[in-house]
């Protein structure tokens, strides 16, 4: 099966611009998660979709971040306007909707650089 796919792999934008990250989960995975890792720091949770619904968005840093998952398939994460501290690697993950024992499957991430 195809893995979790993220696009783009890299993005360099200027402060104040807008960037949209995309994640295609593994087919059939209802759980979709967004995480980010700022250089040298731990992986921080951003939010969790179950199908098209936001189940947990407690990790979203502020209202400059907007995540959507229309139709319960792929998801987008928009940062508008971007700030310098938004630089980092954004990971998407998906898993089956069948219990805490199911591992999350991660994409390769999008490396975002805000200059």
């Amino acid at each position: 099966e195809a893995g979790v796919t993220q696009f783009p792999s890299h993005s360099v934008i200027e402060k104040g611009q807008t960037v949209t990250l995309r994640c295609d989960p593994i087919s059939g995975h209802d759980n979709l998660y967004w995480y980010r890792r700022v250089m040298g720091k731990e992986i921080k949770f951003l939010l969790h979709f179950v199908k098209e619904s936001k189940q947990d968005e407690s990790g979203m840093p502020n209202n400059r971040f907007l995540a959507e998952r229309t139709g319960g398939t792929y998801s987008t994460l928009k940062v508008q306007p971007a700030e310098l501290e938004d630089s980092g690697v954004y990971f998407c993950a998906s898993s089956h909707l069948n219990g805490r024992g199911s591992p999350l499957h991660f994409g390769n991430g999008t490396r975002l650089t805000v200059t």
Partner: protein, 116 residues
């Protein structure tokens, strides 16, 4: 609140020697614990998990982890390290969430360096 801690930022091991990457956890209820590895410019890859049962769980690439309830630890081990094992390792605990699909909460990561 659920949390995990990895006390070592870096672990250095000689090739062929055993390796241990440490992880301790703090949870309410039964822990669902995971180890992931990240190679450069790649995503996190699942190595192994503990849900219940035997305290020693085996995973990918010859790795295993020992669950110790009294010490609240879940250390990652390998009997004989390879240079290709050099990577970033993350311990994680599964949060309780909707339909048991809660987020993973990660430790800060441990950089493993295996020298020839």
């Amino acid at each position: 609140a659920q949390s995990v801690a990895q006390p070592e930022d870096q672990v250095n091991v000689a090739e062929g020697n055993p390796l241990t990457v440490k992880c301790t956890y703090s949870v309410s209820g039964n822990p669902y614990l995971f180890w992931y590895v990240q190679y450069p410019n790649r995503g996190l890859q699942f190595l192994l998990k503990y849900i219940t049962g035997d305290n020693l769980v085996k995973g990918s690439y010859g790795f295993e982890a020992e669950f110790n309830k009294s010490q609240t630890s879940f250390h990652l081990k390998k009997p004989s390290a390879l240079v290709s094992d050099s990577a970033l390792y993350f311990c994680a605990v599964r949060d309780i969430g909707y339909n048991q699909g809660g987020k993973l909460i990660f430790g800060q990561g441990t950089e493993l360096s295996v020298k020839p």
